[in-house]
């Protein structure tokens, strides 16, 4: 392949580093400027294989010198569309690294390229050779590209002139990417990096739900699974939708069962109360149900104080972590606050009553305008009494639930006198919370705070 080039082209040269000692010239990089950009255009707007250079070529550059570079590719084809630009653009990194003696790092306006002295000696003295080889690879590996044209710029003022336009393109692209949701894809990604210490943890990463550690989004999962499908990140076929709002899918349930060794067989990825996502131990934030106000508080790793329930992050994290599905607590990554599906089924932001000030400030722009001032921080409320007062004062939407419950309670009292039945919520010993009252169910609500109940024997007798 490619006898016309004075260099070898092979994936074997990926990861080849051009050291300073062996470098003929450096293009762009942390100490200069540059960018790479792929634009889709109409078939008749470009001439296939054409290369234009604006500025000096490699042969006109001094050994050991540094220059800016912009690499602009225009592509056309029946199947070429704007959405493909980013995918095509990312391959520039791969293809240029296939060229022996060329090192290409990073992407977009952070690209960093070096050409080695050895390559120069063997005849690589023009950017045209690099551009032609790259264009050839684009067309070979991505056959939907029917025509491709390249413009390279090595003149600083010309690079700067084009840079703003490139940045605008990247920004517009990111906007579109952020609009990708769970319903737009057929595949989610799982991650088992935490299973070494949370063996039953099932981390499900979707467009609307980042990993609990906050490090892996859906695109990261896709990139990793593509390179190594057997690696720590892998694809999960969504399967059938069981509960769209709560986020329950047959594919996720199947995986939960196998990853947790049968411990869990249902997971609703956007639910706090019903079959919640398991919590590893790496989660950045833990959510906790506050039965006294029927709301949910959130506390992050960096908050050193105690939440209104009297507990610090570490205690709640200890109770939640280890890969368990603990109703009443939920570990999440900070970016999940930005998800439009954020505990949607439980009321979303209308259910959030408390979070530390610094955490709230971090996600401030993403909290709905009508609720943002109604979520208390440690400056507004440090215990349950002050929290209740704050929520009342601000007329937090959670108050609507209180009214419903009070009505329910009254009804309960009446039935309670008639038939003294008791509905005891299930809970683990030492769990400092109670479950929300079952909807529509009758009975008395019992709240145990910090209770450790041990019963040797329970005797049930018919009353005489």
């Amino acid at each position: 392949m490619a006898d016309e080039f004075p260099f070898e082209i092979s994936p074997m040269f990926e990861g080849e580093r051009v050291r300073k000692d062996g470098m003929y010239v450096e293009l762009a990089g942390p100490k200069s400027k540059g960018f790479e950009l792929v634009k889709s255009v109409g078939m008749d707007e470009i001439e296939d294989g054409k290369f234009t250079l604006i500025g000096p070529d490699i042969s006109e550059m001094e050994e050991g010198s540094r220059h800016p570079i912009a690499m602009i590719y225009r592509i056309a084809g029946e199947l070429v569309e704007q959405d493909l630009e980013a995918i095509v653009e990312r391959r520039n990194h791969d293809f240029q690294n296939y060229i022996q003696g060329v090192m290409h790092l990073n992407q977009r306006y952070d690209i960093w390229i070096r050409v080695s002295k050895d390559a120069m000696k063997k005849g690589l003295d023009s950017l045209e050779q690099i551009a032609k080889a790259t264009m050839m690879l684009f067309k070979n590996e991505l056959p939907f590209i029917e025509k491709i044209e390249a413009t390279y710029i090595t003149d600083m003022s010309e690079v700067e002139k084009e840079l703003d336009g490139a940045i605008a393109t990247y920004t517009a692209r990111d906007e579109r990417t952020r609009n990708l949701h769970d319903e737009d894809v057929d595949v989610f990604y799982g991650c088992t990096l935490c299973q070494s210490f949370a063996p039953t943890n099932v981390c499900v990463v979707t467009p609307d739900r980042i990993s609990l550690c906050g490090a892996i989004n859906w695109f990261d999962g896709r990139a990793a699974a593509k390179v190594d499908p057997e690696g720590p990140q892998f694809a999960i076929e969504k399967g059938e939708i069981i509960d769209a709002k709560g986020g329950e899918y047959s594919g996720v349930n199947d995986l939960a069962k196998s990853l947790s060794n049968g411990e869990y067989d249902r997971i609703k990825i956007h639910s706090f109360f019903e079959f919640p996502h398991t919590s590893c131990g790496c989660f950045e934030v833990v959510g906790f149900y506050i039965p006294e106000v029927d709301g949910i508080g959130w506390v992050d790793r960096d908050f050193m104080g105690t939440a209104p329930n009297g507990l610090p992050f570490s205690t709640m994290a200890g109770q939640t972590g280890g890969g368990k599905q603990v109703v009443g607590f939920l570990g999440i990554g900070i970016n999940y606050f930005r998800s439009p599906k954020f505990i949607e089924v439980d009321g979303g932001w209308n259910r959030v009553v408390w979070m530390p000030k610094l955490l709230k400030d971090k996600v401030l722009a993403d909290i709905p305008k009508d609720i943002v001032d109604k979520v208390a921080t440690e400056e507004d409320a440090s215990d349950l009494e002050s929290l209740k007062a704050f929520l009342k004062e601000k007329d937090h939407p959670i108050l609507e639930r209180w009214v419903e419950e009070e009505e329910e309670d009254e009804a309960v009292e009446e039935t309670a006198t008639a038939a003294p039945t008791m509905q005891m919520p299930m809970m683990a010993a030492g769990t400092p919370m109670a479950m929300p009252a079952g909807s529509g169910g009758s009975g008395v609500k019992i709240i145990l705070k910090n209770a450790k109940v041990s019963i040797d024997r329970v005797i049930i007798k018919k009353s005489e």
Partner: protein, 250 residues
């Protein structure tokens, strides 16, 4: 094939000096070396006579801090790789990489997972990798560097120092890391204790591949804090390190 050598030992035994002298020997022989400073307590850059402003730790922190600001579909591995290349100090004949600050309280599983792949690729670019690492072998337990050809424990002349060698050998057994050979170098040896050291090493079944005598030139340089990289060829330590390098087939 790249030969990976890790040099470890208690603080003050002179492992950093030996690492620097091995790098000196290798670059003189036109081998391309990657020097890794993996001991937060050590000062390999100063000993070599170069400066490193930032380390891998800073770049891990950058990835953690910036990840929500990065474009959602960007390939984080290529960004991280570029950031690691940015903190490589490039010197004639060798590059230096500092591990730097320890991890914070967040989760580093993902960053470390990416780092493993990046390091695997980076290491292949060099003839020899010399790692100056603390006795706890922390970076090996995280498998940031997976395969080590020769692990060298530097000890002073004391029995306690040699015991460290024994303990490290046990630790390696527990690590799951792939370590081919373990050797011991006795440093700051005098005529009086030379024999006892080699007897103790035999008794503990440790392979002693060198004994470096107290070197006045090193002591002088240590005192004023000047690098050891340009020690003259007739320095006692330089000559013994040359012998050791030959035994390591460098």
């Amino acid at each position: 094939m790249t030969q990976v050598i890790a040099i470890t030992g208690k603080g003050g035994t002179g492992k950093t000096a030996i690492a620097a002298l091995l790098i000196r020997y290798l670059t003189k022989g036109n081998k391309v070396v990657l020097a890794i400073d993996a001991d937060p307590d050590s000062n390999l850059p100063e000993t070599l006579g170069c400066e490193a402003e930032k380390g891998i730790g800073d770049m891990k922190e950058f990835m953690l801090k910036e990840r929500d600001n990065l474009p959602p579909d960007i390939n984080k591995e290529t960004i991280f790789e570029s950031k690691i290349y940015e903190v490589l100090t490039e010197m004639p004949g060798y590059d230096l990489l500092v591990m730097g600050r320890p991890e914070g309280s967040g989760c580093y599983c993902y960053a470390n997972n990416l780092l493993r792949g990046i390091m695997d690729r980076l290491v292949k670019n060099y003839d020899v990798v010399i790692i100056d690492t603390a006795a706890g072998l922390e970076h090996f337990s995280r498998k940031i560097i997976r395969d080590v050809d020769d692990l060298i424990v530097v000890t002073d002349g004391s029995r306690r120092g040699l015991r460290t060698g024994e303990r490290i050998r046990e630790l390696v057994g527990e690590l799951e890391a792939n370590v081919r050979n373990i050797y011991v170098i006795a440093n700051k040896v005098t005529d009086d204790n030379k024999e006892t050291i080699s007897d103790t090493a035999k008794e503990l079944d440790l392979e002693l591949i060198g004994a470096i005598k107290v070197d006045e030139m090193i002591q002088e340089r240590d005192l004023i804090g000047s690098p050891l990289f340009d020690l003259p060829d007739d320095s006692v330590a330089v000559q013994e390190v040359e012998n050791i390098a030959k035994k390591l087939k460098l």
